[in-house]
Structures are given as C-alpha cells and as structure tokens.
Symmetry: D2
Subunit: 386 residues, 4 copies
Amino acid sequence: MKKLVYFLTGIRSEYDILAPVIEAVSATPELEAGVIVTGAHLTQIHENSVRQIENDGHRIVARIDSLLASDGLSGRVKGAALQLTGMSDLFARERPNFIVVMGDREESITGALAGVYHHIPVVHIGGGDHADDGNVDNPIRHAVSKIAHLHMATTPLSGQRLRALGEEDWRIHVVGASGLDRLFSTPQLGRNDLEAALGVDWNGAPYVVLLYHPTITDFDDAGVHIASITKVLEETRLHVAIMMPNSDPGNQAIVGELNSFAQRCGRVKLFRFLDRLVFVNMLRHANALVGNSSAGILEAPSLGLPVVNIGLRQRGREHAGNVIFTDYSREEIRNAIVKSVFDQAYREHASAVTNPYGDGTTGRKIAEILANTEVNKKLMHKNFLM
Amino acid sequence: MKKLVYFLTGIRSEYDILAPVIEAVSATPELEAGVIVTGAHLTQIHENSVRQIENDGHRIVARIDSLLASDGLSGRVKGAALQLTGMSDLFARERPNFIVVMGDREESITGALAGVYHHIPVVHIGGGDHADDGNVDNPIRHAVSKIAHLHMATTPLSGQRLRALGEEDWRIHVVGASGLDRLFSTPQLGRNDLEAALGVDWNGAPYVVLLYHPTITDFDDAGVHIASITKVLEETRLHVAIMMPNSDPGNQAIVGELNSFAQRCGRVKLFRFLDRLVFVNMLRHANALVGNSSAGILEAPSLGLPVVNIGLRQRGREHAGNVIFTDYSREEIRNAIVKSVFDQAYREHASAVTNPYGDGTTGRKIAEILANTEVNKKLMHKNFLM
Amino acid sequence: MKKLVYFLTGIRSEYDILAPVIEAVSATPELEAGVIVTGAHLTQIHENSVRQIENDGHRIVARIDSLLASDGLSGRVKGAALQLTGMSDLFARERPNFIVVMGDREESITGALAGVYHHIPVVHIGGGDHADDGNVDNPIRHAVSKIAHLHMATTPLSGQRLRALGEEDWRIHVVGASGLDRLFSTPQLGRNDLEAALGVDWNGAPYVVLLYHPTITDFDDAGVHIASITKVLEETRLHVAIMMPNSDPGNQAIVGELNSFAQRCGRVKLFRFLDRLVFVNMLRHANALVGNSSAGILEAPSLGLPVVNIGLRQRGREHAGNVIFTDYSREEIRNAIVKSVFDQAYREHASAVTNPYGDGTTGRKIAEILANTEVNKKLMHKNFLM
Amino acid sequence: MKKLVYFLTGIRSEYDILAPVIEAVSATPELEAGVIVTGAHLTQIHENSVRQIENDGHRIVARIDSLLASDGLSGRVKGAALQLTGMSDLFARERPNFIVVMGDREESITGALAGVYHHIPVVHIGGGDHADDGNVDNPIRHAVSKIAHLHMATTPLSGQRLRALGEEDWRIHVVGASGLDRLFSTPQLGRNDLEAALGVDWNGAPYVVLLYHPTITDFDDAGVHIASITKVLEETRLHVAIMMPNSDPGNQAIVGELNSFAQRCGRVKLFRFLDRLVFVNMLRHANALVGNSSAGILEAPSLGLPVVNIGLRQRGREHAGNVIFTDYSREEIRNAIVKSVFDQAYREHASAVTNPYGDGTTGRKIAEILANTEVNKKLMHKNFLM
C-alpha cells in the first residue's frame, strides 16, 4: 500500500515552493500525495490560487476556508483555529502517513499541531532557517521544528542550526530549497517575447522588479515604507515591474500606494499574478530585484541577479554575495539600486556567486527520504540534545 | 497603571500549580491578575473546578468552553481550536501585558500562539523540564519555549536545558516549582483528623496513595496497565487511598477499573476530589505514593515520602532519591512497594533527600520578575543561540 | 447520474429513526446516500454509536466531532458552531443534491442552515409535530420548517400544522413515522429467549420498561424527578428494565440515580445499549412502558403497549389511546402504572388502538419523493401562505 | 437593577437601523444597552465601521471577528459558526435579559439561536416583512420569527403576516421602522453646502443616487447586471452619486464595474462612506434614487423621493407609491429613470405619499416595551397558532 503524504498550503508563494515536492512525491511509486488547501488560496484576493493547484493536477483532499477579512492580529489566530478544526475531522477520518508543512506561517504550526496530536509524523521543510527580523515567524519556525519528526533543511547552515537547537542528527536532511527546482526547469523566453507577455513596450531598456511584502513587526508603517521605495524608483527613471504583495496585515496600505504609483508614473507596470514562465523570465532579464521577497535570497543567486533587500524581512538569512541590505532611508535605497543596476564590477561579481540553496533536485530528495522512512516508535519518540 | 497579567488554565492539576503565582501577582501592587478558564475546569467530569477558582477570589476574565466529549485525538485538536478562537476576540479587546502559560498541555501552546500573534509577551512556567516518555507533551513543551519571551524554570537543570535548546540567558529565570508554595503553607492535620476527613476508619494502619493518570503514548493499554497495579495492591493487603485520573484519552478505562477495584476490595477508598488541606495531609501521613503523578516528583521529596512511579509518565524527570521507577511488570511493582513501605533503611534515606524543585517561594519570585520586566522591543524580539 | 442525498445525525435515537430512510434511499437506483455523523455518536458516552452506522453498511461522508463535555447551555451553542464549520467545507467540496435533517435538535437547524446558505435543498422529517412543553425544541422545529424546501410529515395533523404555519401545500408530504419501519421488520423473540438476551431470570413475571430522558426546561430538577419515579417503581415490586438516558443537560443526575436504584433493588436491570432485536422484543413482552420516551408515542400503539408518560416531554404530541400522561406526583405515577399493568379492561383497550404514525412504509415513501423531485428554481424559491 | 439589553450587529446598514433603538434603550432608566459587534464592522472593507459605534458612545460588550475573506457560500456558514462560538462564551458569562436581532442576515439567526439555547428572550426587529425575491434571507427571517419571543414589526401588514405564520398576538408589536427615527432628526443642508460636503461641483443640476447591492440569488451575474445600470446612467447624462455595495457575495464584480464607471465618466462620483448628515441630505436633494437599497422602500417615501428599484432585491416588500420596479432590461431601467426624474405629474404624486413604515418614534416604542416586559415562563414558552 502506498504511503499517503499530505501537504498543507495557505498561500501561493508557499505553494510555489511546495509544488516541486508534491510533484516528486506523486512521481514516486511508493507514495501518494494529497493537498490540503486553506487560507488565501480560497479567496479572490489572490484570484483563488486553488485553481492553479487543480490545474497542476494534484489531488485536493480538503479545502479549509480560513482567511478572515479583518486583516488584523486576531484574524490570524482565528484563522489558525479554523485550520485546526478542519484538520481535526480530516485526520481522524483519513490518517495520512505524513503531514508536510513548510516554513513559518500559521499553517506551518497548525499542521504540525494537528499532526502531532493525531500521532502522524510531521515533516518540516525549511527548519533551521533564520531571519533576524524580530518577526513572529522566526519563533514559529523553531517551534514547528521542535514538534517535527523529520527536517528538510535548505542549507548546511540551517541543518547545523537545527542541531544547535537540540534536534537529533538523524532527523535532519539537508536537501536544498525546492523553490529552485522549478527555476531550473522553466524554459527561456527572449526579451521581446517577455515584453509581449508582460504587455509592456520597453524596447530592451533596463528595468527592475519590485516585490515588497508587509512585515508583521512594522505593518503600521507599511504605507510610509513603500512610499519611500516608490519615491526612489520614481526618481531613478528606471522601468519598474511590480508584483502585488501577499495578504499579511499591512497589505492594504501597500496596495494603495502601488496603485497610486502606477497611476502617476508611466514607466511602471503592476501585476497581480504572473505565470511561472513569465515571472521567472522577468527575473532573468531584470537588471535588479528590489523589495523584500525571498526570491532575492533563494532564486536570484542562481540567476546572477543583483538584489536590493529593504527593511527587516529576509534580514539575517543565509545569502550569497548578490544582495545589498538597506533600511528605509531613501539615500541608502537609491545608492543600492544605482550600484546594482549600473556598477559593472559589482554586477559581474553578483553574476558569479554560488547559491547556498542547492541545485534544483530538492523535491526528488525529499520524496526518496519519505519513501525510505519507516513510521515507527523511534521516529515518533522525540529526544532532544540537551 | 497596573500591568495586566493573564493566566490560562484548563485543568485542576495545572491550576493547583498556577494558584500560588496568581496569588503572588494579585498581592503585588504593580500587577493585576486575570484568569482565563477553559477545558476540564468547565465540565462536571471534574466537578466544575472553575468554582474553586472563583472561591479563591481570582478575577475570571473569560470562560472558554473547549473540552470535547469524544475522548479522542481529534477532540484535542478541536478543543485547542476553540481555545484559540476564544482568546482571539479576548486579546483583541483587552490586550493584557503578559500571558502566562504552564507546562506542556494544549492550553500551553494555544496560549503561547494567541499571545505571540497578538504581540503580547508570553511567560512560560516549567520550560526546560523533561520527561523522556515519547509523549507528545515533551515536544509541545519545547515548542512553547521557542515562542515564550520569559522562562520560569523550575530547577537549575531545566534552566540549563533551555539554554542548550537555544534560549537566551537573560530570558531564563530559575524560580523553583510553585506547586511547593502551597505545600509549605498547608496546615498540619493529625492522623485521626485526617481519617475523619477522608471518611475512613483505618486506625493508623499503613496506607499508600494511588494517583495514576493515562499516558498518551499507551492510552490504548490503559485498562491493562491499571489492572496490573490494582492487582498488586489487592495482594499487598495495604489500605489504599485513590484519586481519580485526569481527563486525557484513556481516562475511561482507568475510571472503570478503579471503580471495580473499590467495589471488590474493602480496604480501598476512592476520591474524586479532595480539599488541598486533606490532600496534602493524606500525603504527609502516607507510607508511600504509587502511580505516575507529578506529586511524586515535585512534592514528595519535601515530605520525605517514598514514591513508586510506574510506566513512562514522569520517567526521566529530575528527581530526588525518594523515587523508584518501574515498568508494568507486577513483580517490579510489588518489590518497589514493599521496599518503599517496609524497608526502614530506605525509608530513612528517602525522608532526608533535598528537593531540587526549590523552597516554596516561587510565586513571589515570578511576580517580582514580571513587575520589574519592561515590555519593549528587546523582550519581544527573540534571538536564538545557534 | 445519481442524486446524492446527505443525512445528518447526532445521536442514536435520531439515527434509529433515520436508518429506514437511509436504507430506502440506498435501495433506490436513482439515489445515493451519505451520512454525516456528529454529536453524541462520536463519544464513548453512547459507546460510539457511529460503529452501528458503519456496521449497517452506510457510507459515512464526514465525522464532525461536536459534543462538548461541559453538559451546559453554552456547550450546545458551541457544538452547533462546530457542526456548521464542518458542513461548510464539506458542502463547498461535495455539493449534495439534498440534505435531510430530522426533528428539532441542534443538528436539525445547523443542517438546515448549512444547506440553505449553500443553495442545497433541505428535507425536513418530522416538521409540524408539536410538543407543548415550553421546550426550546418546539420553536427550533418550526424554524427548521421555515427553511426546509420539502416536509416529510409524520401524521395528517402535522401536515395540517405545517400548512397553518404558512408552508405551501405542494412541499408537504404526509409519510408516517419512519421509526415504525423497523418495528414491523424486527423478528419475534419468545419470552425465554428475550430473558436470555437481557441476562435476566424473571421467569415470565410482569415487568415494565423505564426510558427517561432529561428535559431542557427542568433539567435542574432532573435528579428529583427521576427519584420520584424510581421510588414508585421500587414500591410496586415490579421487575424493571431500564435504558440509560440521552446526553442532554441533566443527564448526569439521572444516570447517578439509576445506578443507585439498580444497586439497591435486585429486580432492576440497567442497559446502556441494546440491539434493536432485543429492544423491540423487550417492548413487545413488556406490561407497560414508563418514562418520557418518544417510543411510547410512536411505536407503543403498534405493539398495543400501555404507556405512562411522566412530565413535560412528549406532552401535547399526537397520540393514540394507550398513553396516560402524569406529572411528577408519586401518587399520579403509581396510579397510572397500576392501571396500565393490572387493569385488564384498560389493557384490552390499549392493545387495540390505531397508530396515527402510519404503517411502516415511510422510508420507501421518502425515497420515492426524492427520486421524483426536480431541483429547480420553484423548489428553492420559498413562498409562504400569509 | 437595570435590565441588560444586548444588540447584535454585523454590518453598517444594519447598525444604522439599530442605532436609534440602542439610543432609546440607553436613554431609558430601567434599561442598559450593550452592543455585540461582528462581521463586516470589523474589517477595512467597510472602513472598520466599528469605530462609528464607538464614536456614537455605545458600550461594546464583545467584538466577534467573523467575516471570511473568501466571498463565497461556505464563508457565510463558517462566519455564522464563529458568531455562535463567540456568543456562546459571552452569554454563559454575562446572561443579558434580552438579545435584540434585526432582519434576516446570518447574525439574525445566530443571535436568535445563541439566545434561545441560553434561555435568553430573543427580540426580533423586522419580522413579518416580506421580499419575494427567492432569496435565502426570506426564509431566514421567518425562521428567526419562529424562535423570537417578541416581535417588533415595522408595519401593520408585517404584524398580520406574523400572525398568519402562527405567532401569538400578544408577542407582536407594530412599532414602525427605526431607520426613520434618524431621518427625521437629521439637520437640513442647503444644496450648496451639500455639494461642498460631497466634493462635487454640479451647480444645482439634477442628479440621481445609485445604491446597488449584490443579491444572493443571482450573484454570479452581478457584473452583468450592474453594467446594464451604469450603461443607462451613462446615456442619460445625469450626474450620479454612488455608494459602494455591501460585502455579500458578488460584491467584487460590482465594485469593479463602479470603479470603471467612475473612471470613464466625469459626471459620476463614488463614495465608500458618507456621514449620516451628508447621506440624508444627498437623498433629500436627489431627483431620484436608483438601485435596490432598502432606503428606497423605507426612507424615500418620507422624503417624497422617486425610486427606481432594479432586480429582485426589495421586490414584493410593502411600499408607497414612489417606487417603480424594473428588471434588468436597459429599456425598462431607462424609462423608469426618465419618468422619475422628468415626469412632473409623477414627481408630484411621489412627493405626497404616506410612509407605511411609521413616523420616526420606533426606538422609543421598543425601549418602552422592553422596560415593561417581564421575563417569565409565559414569555419563554412559545405556543403557535395552528
């Protein structure tokens, strides 16, 4: 009988990273994949990204509507409660062999809790990562690691951190970042085809990509912060391709300013959603990536793309030499963008870095580990190095 | 303005340990205490122990009905969801300055999550403790520690474990076990008065106390295990005072066997609930404590009481030299009870141990720390030693 | 494609009535049945009656753990919320063609609400019934009727009441009580075989059956009320077969007194659960049925069994001439029992009544109606006679 | 001791109608008002209208975050569950003397259920109203009436309908529509001041007000329907003042088209929110009200304002002679607008109608009834005329 592997996902950015693992699990004869879809996937805010999961052909075993409209702190907790409630009846009925969660979001901890209380082994992707941003996500990630029975660490350093935090060696597998799997397999688009796909007419002129998400620690100032960034970008007179932010608190202020920026500045193009093909090639052709997206840390090094990371998000994460970190000072931001786009020596350096997040075979590695792991007392009985 | 300190409690045994801290917080001019009551407190199974909290004069700020009747794994998860939901609206409205959780139960992790997502500092009592029982409680306790902003460790060893698991030194306070605070302050009852209070007529004959709770890891065998213990106790012909178990899964099998034991054996007396006064003096006069209660680890050493701890619960916890650990073999259990009750050399040794869990001033220490802790960015921004 | 008919059930007594309808639906080629199991079915209190549903071979489409342990008013509301939450995700995913609810319990109104808000036709069994007991169930039943799209009324009088309350004629079907379907199909047991099955040795002596459930309107007095009944039964010196009460508030006081009655009186036998075969034959051979069970109203007339109905439960329901209604006065209860058991003229009269609840073909009738009902705008667009 | 009267509100339009009743209850010495705020009030979509409730000086006894972001059918059911859960703990703790609900929304039925299961009298405002739109709201409203203990009917006809649906005469009070109370008390603004307040420069030219909400029965076509309306309004070349729709499913399509209409047509002004003062005077000076708002039915007759009501919403409600009902045909809509704005004979007729919804003293009447109603068995024990 096949081992049943459940994945839990609440937002497109998370699914994008899980997808290569789900595909690899589905392609493994000993395993069967099921996806629990929750959170932003089920809302129009993100254009019901659940449809992408369906289109990718994955079996959706439950849809747990959980995102509150209130865009505040208590909504996060209540949404987590709805996820727990939904998984409670599901796990009692279905009893998967593994529940896989990723990173540091609400669904990471709710999936881990629902799993461990049902005596189902919890597999955690991204444990041991670290972003020194004072954000709630960081302690949540480590809390999930305490509960998880298997760790799929993205880098050797993350694996060491898991050990330093008391996790047993044999539970830790360094597998790289699965987000890279798709990067390598995404076909190339020429610059002209890309411009057509984006609906822009920039004639090969330099452009930067802006990906800026709200940060929980300073979401009250989200409006001020994004305004500093758009102001600098307006002054640089560069073309700018912008992706809309995720749905964390603070999101609405950012959306408002981005809309206003696009209205007042003709060189700016706003995207709610882009195909993977178009998105990856937009990064490939870009002169720099600006904002605070994890794409700057994880994927940009494999593309040799210079990155300007602004504010606390991603701060302190393991990264290659293609990233300049700034705070919200306009001067700092401006200098970093100018260096990233126009300083040829720096650009050459950035194009030649080695990516600490691996080589694009992460999904396959995880599937093999799950296929070869026996669910027994040893796996379920957690000891800690202390 | 006073700092508002919320406590979360779901079961009598937990409240008994929290109560000295709540009292000390209430007695501190800079602090104000509020109690969130949930779980078993609100059910008749435990005779609505919420009434004891009311009678103790504490301000109850919310009652969150959360215990499912289904006595299974999924009920635990659903109950946790109800706790999160209830705290969500409460914290959004009231914004306490601290939320205090204890130990390793569902309410420990739900209180920690509700707190951290509302940016309210989480105070964890009992972090760094360790019971090597393969139980879900152990990873949950460590997960709560990852989230908590202040650790109130019960022993120096627990403090060291927190550090080994990556917690920063300045967050860790070794304060002892608050459960001892009440032990020292409970008045003495003579043996005759005790027998009257218990409604028994044992004329000063030796007796043991049996406190046996279900263990999550082997709750399917709870009926078999308790039957081994009652069988041995029946053969020893000792008098036995029994407290009913807590409401964890497996509870019903134990209750059934204990009822049967009491019906078939006249030397046995069953108690659903005892006043603190009576309970403590029942331990003071007992010849041994049998079962798997934390009282054997925490409080028995201060009373010089020999303890027979059966099975995985409490296994591996820091303890003094008054405890014999056994598995479920009847012979092991019998030998340990005989030694504890009748071996005078051993009994003298057990009566002279030092209690690693402190000296009964834990509540006061915690209250002082909270009164002197400033809620600021440093407190809220967790770093980890790794 | 088959029409998918979902049934919602929360307690054994309700399932017993639904079961013949589920069977008839399953036996109808155009229909497919699914059962949503919730409430007391999933708890040990009722020995996990979900197993009976499984053993009956029905497809369980969801288990929604919902019964709170708190045995109070707020637990009822919270349990209803868990039912709504569970059905929400289920209906969004599965979209049954009909949702069938019964009577006047929490799951009747939650099923109706989940259905109507998902635009799924709601079929209500037992609308238009009436029990003038001041109980919350009565208004709930009528509220469900306002929402329901099809009414399966048990008697012509109930059908008339639905019309009087504004329901359109064409939505109302008088189909009888499905509880009778199984009564007629249950094989006969001789008196000796019955005694063997019950584990009693009554040698054919007269006995009464006691079925007494808590009533929401006076649940605080449940202990006093049941004590009056057991006192009278103790004095009559009749043999008594007792079924345990359902899990409504007040249940624990009744359970306590029944246990005590059985302990102090050797002629009494207590049952938590009986096979349908044994239960029906226990009624067939009984000299009277005492208490407040709906079996006295619905099934007893078809068996010619005299009934003493005590208190407000069942009061005011349509009934045949085999029922004597009493309040809690011991004298009234005693007189009614004596008349029912020993007054031959009355017993002959009671044995010859006509059952207003039909002839045991209810399940088949309902299945036919559902097979022949088109789900269209007319069905979904409720008008009211007013 | 004052009687505690709780009001439940989930959306601004509902609060606007409840507010005069809350004010009147607060002004009554025997009563004390508390407001439970839930649903859209707590979201930024409606600019956190909870702040208006705070600014009005009412005591908010609970905030129950309940609106899901998913904008679908299952979100409605899940939101209802969150309301029930929140009220469950609240009512167990506080036990108000009355819970007042209004109309036919989710919070109407959840408030009624939470009340009746806690044995708290339910007061229903707007029972017996009728809108023959095939909408789920209609049966919900009647279901709430079945549960409610006191009915505050808006018109004599609504009172008669309640009787026809089986409600007892003495529970029914015809009190008018409280929405009118504020209309009469709102000060007058001159046309110039109004234009200044609206930020428009229309120089006294004729204008219409557009208020169009999604309808549950055809929310899939919401985008097509609103496009027909905007197209006609674009052709008429009238000035148009538009209020944004409520948050029911379909809302996003309407918002999209209205934004587009305002961008392509200079005579159009869009408002997310208007002060009562400005809103009422906007209606007073308008030449017609277009759309499907209840303001056209309830308030417009008291202002002598011609109304064009499009589609099923409000269809079949009791109304005066100032309303023309149309379907979505552009020609019908155009003819009705032209007649309303330009046909002087019709405009004179419309200006002189009598409002069936009363005279603006509804709040005071309800407060008096609650002050004079004893909460006793008679009130709680519902009988039905049938």
